[in-house]
């Protein structure tokens, strides 16, 4: 079985940013809370590999710590989506066709009808900006995504013979859902989680860009981009670097998700030479 180029590139980029975030826990080239106005807007150099921003902070250090913020927010938000969305989807699939199914899925539709970023802005506008509220906001729009995917995948599994056998042997719906259905839809859910993770990174950057994400002094890619906006004529690197970082991270996760789907999908696997 061949591992696709997409998957390799995706894993490479994702691991690179994960490593960057990991290293920032123990070491960064400079302290990101250190504001040295005299050193501001320096281009990349030996001392500052990626230059400095408008407060003289080291951009590489901020990208590293910002990776941590982005990854933490996106990861927890995906976790929220999985923990609430998957059981809801499994429940709806188990109760397929009933009123309960209707209520759950129409409730999902309601949340889904709002564009994700609008929900996030709404939540942070009510509860105030901050990383925690960004997590909640992004997490909430992940719930219907996972509920739908879980229900759809579960429905097809429910018709299989071994499920019939399990039912005949007297197992309840809850048992069947978690013991037989969940392992069989895990692949689909993992691929979806990767895609949601990349959307989470983008959403976090978007929220931070409009000032609703992590608050200063905690660095965040989206806010770096927002603050660099007026500096672009003076020092283009302060905008290009965080922008490129977000693109690469999201690209990496999408390639990873796509590659993983191809890798895990048996139909696609067989077709491959």
């Amino acid at each position: 079985m061949r591992v696709g180029a997409n998957l390799i590139a995706g894993i490479g980029l994702s691991v690179f940013f994960l490593a960057l975030a990991g290293v920032s826990l123990v070491w960064t080239p400079y302290d990101v809370t250190l504001l040295v106005v005299g050193d501001r807007l320096q281009p990349p150099s030996q001392a500052h590999w990626l230059g400095t921003d408008h407060f003289g902070r080291d951009i590489l250090s901020m990208i590293m710590v910002g990776a941590r913020t982005s990854i933490a927010v996106a990861l927890i938000a995906v976790g929220v989506g999985v923990i609430f969305g998957v059981p809801l989807g499994l429940f709806a699939a188990a109760m397929r066709g009933s009123l309960a199914d209707e209520i759950v899925m129409r409730g999902n539709d309601l949340v889904f009808a709002f564009p994700a970023l609008v929900i996030a802005i709404l939540i942070t506008a009510i509860f105030g900006p901050g990383a925690v509220n960004a997590i909640i906001a992004i997490g909430i729009f992940n719930i219907p995504v996972f509920a739908r995917v879980a229900r759809g995948a579960a429905l097809s599994v429910w018709t299989r013979e071994f499920i019939m056998a399990a039912r005949l042997s007297g197992k309840g719906s809850a048992h069947i859902s978690f013991e037989h259905i969940l392992p069989n839809i895990a692949n689909t859910l993992i691929v979806q989680a990767t895609i949601q993770f990349s959307l989470g990174i983008l959403a976090e950057a978007g929220l931070a860009y409009v000032g609703l994400g992590a608050q200063p002094p905690q660095p965040s890619w989206g806010r770096m981009l927002a603050e660099a906006q007026t500096m672009i004529a003076l020092a283009p690197h302060v905008a290009i670097i965080p922008g490129l970082t977000i693109v690469l991270m999201v690209l990496g996760l999408n390639l990873f998700g796509d590659g993983l789907r191809d890798y895990l999908d048996p139909r696609l696997r067989e077709r491959r030479p």
Binding site: L35, V37, G38, H54, G128, P217, T230
Partner: protein, 481 residues
């Protein structure tokens, strides 16, 4: 054919202007709102008062050509210009003066600066061209008070509709307002005084600093009297089409502290905060060098200004020692920041970092204007906030106990009381200086810098104000070379 060509000048002088403003006014009635944007459109252009601010801050006659003060200082007699009419054709008389001031002073008045009229007991029209203002006590500064945008003369016919279609006596009259985009005014052909040289002016509202830069570069806007992005000012200035004009404003930018709330009710803590702040780094980092350090709540270009920056010089060691001495233990403070991206948001981030450096844990809370006005300014629910006070000569706010930072010490109130009663210029200077010292020595707030007026304009425009003695975009003398 040739004759026809001759009739057209080779290069017609432009008679229109597009002025970029950061904020759109909520409405256009200067007698019913505190928003600076109202006066930035209407002051001296649409509306006029008895007196007015000149470009250098001097008080000039406007609708009143002169005035006499009685021996006891209790009666001002204003002699009005003849042949003045409102834009709707109604003649302007002393009755309009009486109407405007009585309306502003009334119980139910919505005037944002009712304090300006506080000394006035009554206003009467002696005849059509003579308005008599009687005071409760001698007050030397009345012509200054009446020069404010909040004290302009309105007609009783149109006072109710000035919010949407302003009618004044000025050299320009209102044409239309496209909400969210622009306001257009045009020359008033029946103006009583020297007519404006521009035929038409458009105020365009652009609050995004990047969009402001783009609008200037594309020549969609001819000038920004207060350009919102100091970081790109140098780039525009280097462009041969534009010139930057750096002047002074009445904007004292301060780190306001809630004097009512522990631990900020402790003078040692407040002093420690002032010593933790590096003004130079702040002006450089937030304003890209535009701004003058101040040590008290007073404009440095004012003759009575005293330089008290030494009282709160940057000295982090001193700051830590003072915190130790105050014995308040570890401090956590919230720093509320209104929207202006330069002095408030960037400045606030720098201040928070400087306070953290002396061990004060400072948490930034970004706010929209409505939230800031409601929670900080009216609700007084805050620890620290960064704000620019742009009203001229507003040191008296320190005498108000119910003001948001809550000072109002008796000795300061006594100084203000005496100031209001004195007409002798030397004594007034002494009192103003005593007031400046009092608020600096008591470390009421941390005084940061005077906002600079960073204007960018097309090189061929003449006659715009270099300084901002009040919030205004006076277009009366503006023309294209």
């Amino acid at each position: 054919m040739l004759a026809a060509l001759w009739a057209i000048p080779a290069l017609a002088q432009r008679t229109d202007i597009v002025v970029g403003l950061v904020l759109e006014p909520p409405h256009l009635d200067p007698t019913a709102g505190a928003a600076a944007a109202i006066d930035e459109v209407g002051y001296a252009n649409i509306f006029e008062g008895l007196t007015r601010f000149g470009p250098d801050g001097a008080i000039l006659p406007a609708l009143a050509r002169s005035w006499d003060i009685s021996e006891d200082g209790l009666t001002y007699t204003f002699h009005l210009h003849e042949g003045v009419s409102f834009h709707d054709g109604t003649p302007f008389t002393a009755n309009d003066v009486a109407f405007s001031f009585t309306r502003a002073m009334a119980e139910d008045s919505v005037n944002a600066q009712k304090g300006l009229f506080e000394p006035i007991a009554s206003v009467e029209a002696a005849d059509d061209l003579t308005a008599v203002v009687t005071l409760d006590y001698p007050y030397g500064n009345l012509p200054f008070n009446l020069a404010w945008g909040d004290a302009v003369i309105v007609s009783s016919q149109t006072a109710q509709t000035n919010t949407t279609s302003p009618v004044g006596t000025g050299p320009f009259r209102f044409v239309r307002w496209t909400q969210g985009d622009s306001i257009v005014i045009e020359r008033n052909p029946d103006y009583w005084g020297e007519p404006a040289r521009l035929e038409r002016a458009t105020f365009r509202f652009i609050d995004d600093p990047s969009a402001a830069f783009a609008a200037m570069m594309a020549e969609d806007v001819d000038t920004f009297p207060i350009y919102p992005a100091p970081e790109t000012l140098a780039i525009l200035d280097a462009d041969p089409r534009f010139v930057a004009v750096i002047g002074s404003t009445e904007g004292e930018t301060i780190l306001a502290m809630n004097n009512r709330r522990a631990p900020l009710d402790n003078i040692l803590v407040r002093q420690a905060i002032t010593h933790a702040i590096d003004r130079q780094a702040l002006i450089e980092g937030a304003m890209f060098g535009y701004g003058t350090p101040i040590g008290t709540h007073f404009a440095p270009h004012h003759p009575a200004y005293v330089d008290l920056t030494g009282l709160s010089a940057y000295d982090p060691d001193r700051s830590r020692a003072l915190l130790e001495e105050a014995g308040v233990g570890p401090i956590t403070l919230a720093l509320a920041l209104p929207p202006p991206p330069t002095y408030a948001r960037r400045g606030g981030e720098l201040i928070a970092a400087q306070l953290r450096a002396v061990g004060i844990d400072t948490r930034i809370v970004n706010m929209e204007w409505s939230q800031w006005l409601e929670q900080v300014f009216s609700g007084k629910d805050f620890d620290l906030t960064v704000i620019s006070h742009t009203e001229p000569m507003d040191i008296e706010i320190y005498g108000r106990e119910d003001y948001y930072f809550g000072y109002g010490a008796p000795q300061f109130q006594a100084i203000m009381e005496e100031l209001n009663l004195s007409v002798d210029p030397d004594r007034r200077t002494e009192l103003l200086q005593a007031a400046q010292r009092d608020i600096a020595e008591n470390y009421v707030n941390a005084y940061l810098f005077q906002l600079a007026k960073t204007a960018i304009q097309h090189v061929d425009i003449e006659g715009l104000w270099a300084n901002a003695p009040t919030q205004a975009t006076d277009l009366t003398a503006v023309y294209w070379r």
